[in-house]
Amino acid sequence: MEPVLRLQDVSKAFPGVQALRGVQFDVRAGEVHALLGENGAGKSTLIKIVSGVYRPDSGSIVLDGQPVQLHSPHEAQRAGIATIYQELLLFPELTVAENIFMGHAPRRAWGGIDWRAAATGARQILASLDIHDLDVEAPVGALSVGNRQRVEIAKALSQKARILIMDEPTAALTQADVERLFAIVRRLRERGVGVVYISHRMAEVFALADRVTVLRDGAYVGTRDAAQTGEGELITMMVGRTIDQLFPKSDVPIGMPVLEVEDLSLAGVLDGVSLTVRAGEIVGLAGLVGSGRSELAQTIFGIAPATSGTIRVAGELVRIDSAATATRLGIAYVPEDRATQGLIRPMRIRENLSLAVLGELARRWFVDRAAEMRLAEDAIRRFSIRAPGPEQIVGKLSGGNQQKVVLGKWLATKPRVLIMDEPTRGIDVGAKAEIHRLMTELAGQGLAILMISSELPEVLGMSDRVLVMREGRLVAELPRADATQEAVASAMMRTAKAA
């Protein structure tokens, strides 16, 4: 069958990163095609090219057998390609019907929008998806995430989409919503829509997909029929190596507890979390996006102080009400989002590295420029940050080097506890390995490390112990020996049915 959309030899580079290298991909009418790959494998870049956000550096996009150029998201939409992003792009103040018909509403004779027809049309589209419980007059801001996603799908259909791209659609959904979403996706397939489905969850891929394409480090690895492959093969394709080769984890003596968290709660987000991290230990924290992992880290770090529970650092009971307090107590947090939380991108390497130790660097309020320079040069050497020098603007570095700057900033505080949130997200393989080596080395020096990661191989490969979170609670604790992919994954995904 001739595919509706085909990508041939598509490449795309960003400053410092080759995001895609000669990738091919196609979608047929009436199939669900899953796109798999670790974080940073190039999935988002690929879908942004298909949806007209980025233009490829080379390669071609073929639609219905004709080569096309997609200059803008709007052009892609007109060509019948609709995308549902993780951060749903709806207007909270407008109603369901208005959102569905934003930009292409039915007109009256005199050119005004016929909102009555729009409301009727919206109801029809929703009904065709077997959705009967959505009020088309309700403002979208009042809807749950699952319902908003349904509005996005209806919006795509109202644009007569032939190809629907869904970027991790289940990331923030409850199990009931996931099942409803699956029903809708299957219905779309019956109607001949080609669905590109991006997900980290193997179970979903096998439940929905007809074919699976795997990307790794920006390159095309292969395409398989879902019926003729298995989880093992796909994981090998994604990771490309066995876990032991990849992670330089060594056994170091494990010391006294450094961070002890007991019964920590944050209203509506965390529910009675208790955990301990010892000196020299790397504790992996797994869980789906939205399970409360980052929130836990940020609560310990004082960004969103806990509503109840206790925290001890090196045995001493402490009250952490701000990031400044946490820093003073020797807790460091390498956040999930480098660009917005980790770095001040228009500033220099030197200025970023000294940010968390400004107080100590200052002599009577004045920044000690010489000491700052020494700090920066040391960090550049120690972490082999590839940059012309300390005066380089951080925003111009590659992802891996940026991450090393964030790490360097926090290690300058000489922390006792290091919390790393997705420490290797979106960085190339070489830098990834360097950061893993560094983590091992730091643990060897007696640092207590709590590592949050969405990449199961990373969690399994680096951790002495694996904790699993689900819906704001710790649901499993597995020593390294027992932490298999299956055990962790099933703890992450076990549904709320039991509860």
Partner: protein, 324 residues
């Protein structure tokens, strides 16, 4: 159908408890209370002066609301109105046909706001800076051209604002008709909806194929239209025109928009609300005299009102965010 009924009651509830409802209740309450304390407050002459003297503020606040909903601001509107009022009067005195002396300032006003819209939309100058600069330019030009002289000896038939078709003062006609027209346009036209889209979520609007540049440009032009009309109403309400910028006019107009429920964060608000707020502000100003409070407290009351509305808006948004 259950869904449709649900929708209707919901909308009803939104109007009743929304900003418009609150304002309407406040206006009624104010008239009742102040009227009881001092019946002269309800005398026709006073009511006339409240509506007549302030309708142009409500008209200008319609355009300002659109600017704020689109995520921008214009602090030059007071100077613009001052300039255009003077232009209108000068043309009339110079013997231009009277309809032209009404129309030319409106067109000129749109031209000026178009320049500002161009600076903001295409040259990416923040609207606060662009309108600050424009304010200086307009204020200064006015003084250069007129030397601060008053314009009098206006020709017969010029005083648009003093006409009373069907015995309702012309400014009130303008206020009511323009508010209704603008509200319908904002509600039912694609262009009107696009303003909310750009102010509410610029990134999503871009992905939906809405051009921020064109919408902002359009908003500033429409804003110029309303400011021009307001200027003509202002110019024609008295028999002389002081060719100065009415002090703090821009602040009063922005206050009316914000108190009317136009969210300062962009994306929400209605022009009905801003008109009601303009009426409320005018009524408060007038009522202070009638209950023996020094009118010098008026601005403090305005300040408290803005603050209260903004805090209520933030609280509402937070509740909504927590609801998700």
């Amino acid at each position: 159908m259950a869904i449709a009924i649900g929708g209707r009651t919901r909308r009803l509830r939104r109007i009743v408890v929304g900003q418009e409802g609150v304002l309407l209740a406040a206006i009624v309450l104010l008239f009742l209370v102040v009227g009881a304390l001092n019946p002269r407050f309800l005398a026709e002459t006073n009511l006339q002066s409240i509506f007549l003297g302030n309708a142009y503020i409500a008209v200008a606040a319609i355009g300002m609301s659109m600017v704020i909903i689109s995520g921008n601001i214009d602090v030059s509107v007071g100077s613009l109105i001052g300039c255009m009022a003077t232009l209108s009067g000068s043309l009339a005195v110079a013997g231009w046909p009277i309809p032209l002396s009404w129309l030319v300032p409106i067109v000129a006003s749109m031209a000026i706001t178009s320049v500002m819209g161009f600076l903001v939309a295409y040259l990416r100058i923040p609207s606060i800076v662009a309108s600050l600069g424009m304010m200086s330019i307009l204020k200064g030009s006015l003084i250069i051209v007129t030397g601060g002289a008053w314009i009098s000896n206006l020709p017969d038939g010029y005083a648009l604002a003093q006409m009373r078709p069907l015995s309702v003062p012309m400014p009130v006609w303008f206020m009511v008709v323009l508010t209704a027209a603008a509200a319908a346009w904002m509600r039912y036209s694609a262009a009107g909806r696009a303003i909310y889209a750009v102010g509410g979520n610029a990134e999503a609007a871009r992905l939906a194929g809405i051009s921020r540049e064109r919408v902002v440009m359009m908003v500033f032009m429409v804003h110029g239209l309303f400011a021009g009309i307001a200027a003509v109403l202002f110019a024609t309400q008295l028999s002389v025109i002081q060719s100065t910028v009415p002090p703090n006019l821009e602040l009063t107009i922005i206050t009316a928009s914000v108190v009317g429920g136009v969210s300062i964060l962009g994306g929400t608000g209605t022009v009905v609300g801003s008109t009601l707020a303009a009426v409320l502000l005018a009524a408060i100003g007038s009522s202070l005299i009638f209950v023996n409070i020094s009118p010098y407290w008026l601005r403090a009351v305005q300040g408290v009102l803005i603050l209260a509305t903004v805090l209520a808006d933030l609280a509402r948004r937070r509740r909504q965010a927590a609801h998700r």
